[in-house]
């Protein structure tokens, strides 16, 4: 039954990666940029939730909503101030700017909230479920995470497939110039993408810190890198790809930790990524774009 326990842990960790990866993959799909500051938006979201629960004693649901609102604002602001002026610049210039933003957010958090880790309270209202006479224990956090992830997935797919804005997003991601000619406001569409991605980052931040309750200014960095890996793993730009990539990455990480080596688990995750990319160079669900001469 250990196996099932590990599987549950893997899927719930993977769900968090998946939610973060959605933010990466949407931004990449539409703005064609690697938003390295995404991981730090997660951290800011977690801090906002932490202080609204601990200092303002708000109920967890309100805290999460507040975190989402602030992160949305933050994401749109970052896009407006740092990325929009570079819309026509090389992708490398945008990447370095994103790294600058990431440094800024981390150091802002360091000055504002200090480097000592905060102990994050749980936001999950219900307890664990015990199955098979105590052999399989599913924590409340795991259930919430997995359910949230499914909900986000369904909502996001419906949004991109059924709504007018979603259609505009798909159009912009395919061809920016053509979309503009069809009367789509490209800048507005990109802002909305950042807003959605950052709101998801806030949710991911709260879930991440409920599961691993230590919060410090670099909390978002490693999960950010891994979620980015997950997005590439699934095929960057693809929403179902980010989901599958995230969950697989979580499972691989937990199984690697449990069965192979605790210290080498990160190396195993990245090694699997490399193997996948060598076999399928555009990720699991990525589209292969042929270059015509």
């Amino acid at each position: 039954m250990n196996f099932l326990n590990f599987l549950v842990a893997g899927v719930s960790l993977g769900s968090i990666y998946a939610i973060i990866a959605l933010g990466y993959t949407m931004v990449y799909g539409i703005a064609k940029m690697l938003n390295f500051a995404h991981g730090d938006v997660i951290m800011i979201g977690a801090y906002v939730a932490f202080f609204s629960i601990n200092s303002q004693s708000l109920p967890p649901v309100v805290a999460v909503l507040l975190a989402m609102a602030i992160c949305t604002l933050l994401g749109v602001m970052i896009e407006y101030l740092a990325y929009r002026p570079l819309r026509n610049a090389t992708s490398l210039a945008v990447l370095i700017t994103a790294i600058g933003v990431s440094f800024f957010l981390q150091n802002f958090a360091l000055i504002r909230w200090g480097s000592s880790p905060k102990n994050f309270p749980t936001v999950v209202p219900f307890g664990k479920i015990t199955l098979f006479g105590g052999d399989l224990i599913i924590s409340g956090e795991a259930i919430t995470t997995i359910l949230t992830c499914l909900l986000v997935m369904v909502l996001l797919t419906t949004f991109t497939q059924k709504t007018k804005m979603g259609k505009a997003m798909r159009a912009v991601s395919e061809d920016k110039a053509a979309a503009q000619l069809m009367g789509i406001n490209v800048n507005y569409t990109i802002s909305i993408t950042f807003a959605i991605g950052s709101a998801l980052a806030a949710i991911a931040g709260v879930l991440l810190c409920s599961m691993y309750p230590l919060l410090n200014p670099t909390t978002g960095a490693m999960p950010g890198i891994k979620a980015f890996t997950a997005a590439v793993f699934g095929g960057i730009g693809s929403i179902p790809g980010a989901m599958i990539g995230g969950i697989l990455l979580g499972i691989i990480e937990i199984f690697g930790k449990a069965y192979i080596s605790n210290q080498l688990s990160d190396a195993i995750v990245f090694a699997v990524l490399i193997v996948v990319l060598l076999v399928k160079p555009t990720g699991l669900m990525g589209k292969k774009i042929r270059v015509k001469v």
Binding site: L86, N88, I96, T97, I99, G100, F103, T229, L277, L278
Partner: protein, 365 residues
């Protein structure tokens, strides 16, 4: 025409050597006069190390046109193999400079081997996928070295990735690399002079590579892969050449860096270090070696200069980074900068302003 270009390339290279020498003599002069603070003196070798890192990364990112996010991995490989080499040669080679040179050579060779191993899979990919795989390799290297144990006793080297006990050394054995604790008690044999020498060697090799037939092939592949391939260039061979050369120099820089410190841990060479070097390269200008060197030196000193603001310095650093990127890459701001520069130039020499303006315009296009 060809002669002229070669001549200009050679002159450009000599300016770089000259700059390095000027930097060396100024620093020596200041140091002898007692004008350098101790923190600044301790930054001299790291400055050179980061210059070498920036030059070598520029070879991959600027000249070969592949975004690498794992350059610190090669530095790490070089650092730890250099530490092991230096400790192993402690008895057989008594002269410290010679031992340093051998350690750097070994560090470079091991890093070059790692470059070959990593380059084979990596260079089959393109664009962002290539970037993420280099990131992945950087993380793997960090992770593996973080649980690597190396010991030295009379029987030779012992290597394990489990624990120090699993090495099975005899009682006289000395633990060189102790997993997450890293390499402690390293004999510090790096000097500013040796760093400058390695920097000059790096410049020499990279500049000559760029201006050789191979270098032109590498740049042709960067500019248009398909066109280059159709003229019969072996893409993988030339990409590999740039990648492995870059890895070798990163390894040498790593050795130099490690032998300048008494304790080295694998965590030092993480994603942030790779990014730091990438920032030097991008700020200095892609493909511009002198720019890389200057950016590396300035950005290594900048946090030291901002020391009086203590906690705010990294915040200021990040803001400066964002602003510089915006000013150098945004079209409107670039125009404003251009106009300001022109205005200053015309004010400075009003007599021949028409020719100056023409020249400035020509340089821009």
């Amino acid at each position: 025409m060809k002669l002229l270009r070669n001549h200009r390339a050679g002159l450009d290279g000599f300016i770089n050597y000259g700059l390095v020498l000027v930097f060396y003599f100024i620093m020596q002069f200041l140091q002898n006069g007692g004008n350098l603070t101790s923190t600044f003196t301790s930054q001299l070798v790291p400055i050179c190390v980061y210059m070498i890192m920036a030059i070598s990364l520029n070879l991959v990112v600027g000249i070969s046109g592949e975004l690498s996010l794992g350059h610190a991995g090669f530095m790490s490989v070089g650092a730890f193999s250099g530490v092991v080499a230096s400790a192993s040669l402690m008895e057989s080679v008594s002269s410290a400079p010679l031992r340093l040179a051998l350690a750097i050579l070994i560090g470079g060779i091991v890093a070059a081997l790692a470059g070959v191993l990593i380059g084979i899979p990596v260079l089959r990919l393109n664009g962002d996928y290539l970037a993420i795989v280099t990131l992945a390799f950087g993380e793997i290297i960090k992770n593996v070295i973080n649980c690597l144990y190396v010991g030295l006793d009379n029987a030779g080297l012992h290597i394990s990735i489990k624990s120090a006990e699993a090495l099975g050394m005899d009682t006289a054995g000395k633990l060189l690399i102790n997993g997450p604790i890293g390499a402690a008690g390293v004999t510090r044999i790096s000097s500013f002079f040796s760093a400058i020498v390695l920097l000059l060697i790096t410049l020499f090799v990279v500049q000559n590579l760029i201006h050789s037939r191979s270098g032109r092939a590498i740049m042709a592949i960067r500019d248009n892969r398909i066109a280059a391939e159709s003229t019969g260039l072996n893409i993988i061979k030339y990409k590999m050449m740039a990648f492995v050369t870059s890895a070798a120099f990163a390894g040498m820089a790593g050795t130099l860096y490690a032998l300048n410190l008494s304790t080295v841990v694998a965590k030092k060479f993480d994603f942030n270090t790779s990014i730091l070097v990438l920032v030097f390269v991008v700020l200095g200008g892609l493909g511009n070696l002198r720019g890389s060197m200057i950016a590396a030196a300035l950005l290594t000193i900048l946090p030291e200069l901002l020391r009086e603001y203590q906690e705010y310095r990294m915040l200021v650093y990040s803001i400066i980074l964002i602003l510089v990127m915006l000013i150098t890459n945004n079209d409107t701001l670039k125009d404003m900068k251009q106009r300001a520069v022109m205005k200053i130039k015309t004010v400075l020499n009003g007599s021949n302003k028409s020719t100056k303006a023409k020249q400035a315009g020509g340089a821009e296009s």
